[in-house]
Symmetry: C2
Subunit: 194 residues, 2 copies
DNA sequence: TTAGTCATGTAATTGGTTACATGATTCG
DNA sequence: CGAATCATGTAACCAATTACATGACTAA
């Protein structure tokens, strides 16, 4: 069975423990959203499909009149998850509007090129700060359980990656902006040097 | 008028000079594809829409029996392009399957976590090499025109970004893999320090 | 009591890829 | 002459967001 993008994140989320669709969405929004988004419009239909395929099973967990279904991996689902994780990664896509603007800045409005780079740097800086906040919350939530709990090792790892790569990108764009400013003001330009 | 993702890349590509749909696709595939993809199935219909909206105009440029239409920005199109580039960037999305696997590796198959990180590092390393090749081609193609030509300053800038960030990511994942290996083999683990 | 959050779901629309279909020209 | 490349386009399908719709429970 071929897993869809949303199918992959659902199987992964259920590997640690059973959860409802709502919980999956919360977890995706904190920590995974920055590299693998999913909306309710994808999650609920996909839960049904995965159940039909026998990879997950739903158990009713309504409290009072409030309906709730928690899903868990079946043995087939566990197998599918292990199978998926052992295959080499395939999807790696980016849509980066700031980079696109920088790409064209020279031909559309050369005087703004440095500004465009600076803005893109600010975007990365802000993203890093946002992820740092989330990471702190995850760390704080994990600590009370004490050692050996290791609440979300993977979650913290990818959050750190997100923080560090965004800081790196912010620095890069700031340097690029400085270069562009120097070119624009004085400087003979032309000469190949970056 | 609201520009679609493909509309943005088309306006940008035409800002430097008039081009056919086919040429736009070639240019996207070299240099822009790694952060802003576009397929024929998007490009040709979008060219029609942009023409209807008065942002671009097509001139017949068929040679012999081979049909060809080159499009250029109208004054409205130039305005739209400048307007777009001066707005703060919005879209910044990533789909990173290797990171997603690393995220879940601990709960799905802890023994493979290091391997997963190593594979993701290799992916970035390969991507960097691929972009380096393209950058060399772009540099070589630009040189004969001599100085003052500056064939694709923006293109080289974003390619360098792509190369450097992928090298950075490759290093990061390799370090992460080493940490995970150390944790897996000996080590008391638990203790928070990375 | 009302705002917030828990909880599930669908419909409309948009965005995008892949595959298909067609045909001319050019270069080895 | 055959393969590669130039060149344009459509149809089927899949992916995904947004907005909408509904309702219960909880804490201020």
């Amino acid at each position: 069975m071929k897993l869809s993008a949303t199918g992959k994140v659902i199987l992964g989320m259920l590997a640690a423990k059973p959860r409802s669709g709502y919980e999956i969405k919360q977890l995706v929004d904190s920590s995974a959203r920055f590299f693998w988004a999913a909306s309710y419009g994808q999650i609920y239909p996909e839960l049904k499909k995965l159940e039909e395929a026998g990879l997950i099973a739903g158990d009713d967990s309504s409290r009072g009149g409030r309906q709730r279904t928690v899903f868990r991996l079946t043995s087939g689902g566990k197998r599918a998850a292990r199978e998926w994780i052992s295959r080499p990664p395939e999807v790696l896509e980016t849509r980066d509007e700031g980079l696109l603007k920088l790409f064209f800045a020279g031909s559309i409005d050369a005087r703004r090129a440095a500004e465009v780079a600076r803005e893109r740097g600010a975007t990365s800086r802000a993203k890093a700060a946002e992820l740092r906040l989330i990471a702190e919350q995850v760390e704080a939530a994990g600590r009370p359980e004490g050692p050996a709990a290791e609440p979300d090792a993977g979650s913290l790892t990818v959050l750190r990656y997100g923080i560090e790569i965004n800081e790196w990108a912010a620095d890069w764009f700031e340097r690029a902006a400085e270069d562009l400013e120097r070119e624009a003001t004085g400087a003979v330009s032309a000469a190949g040097g970056r």
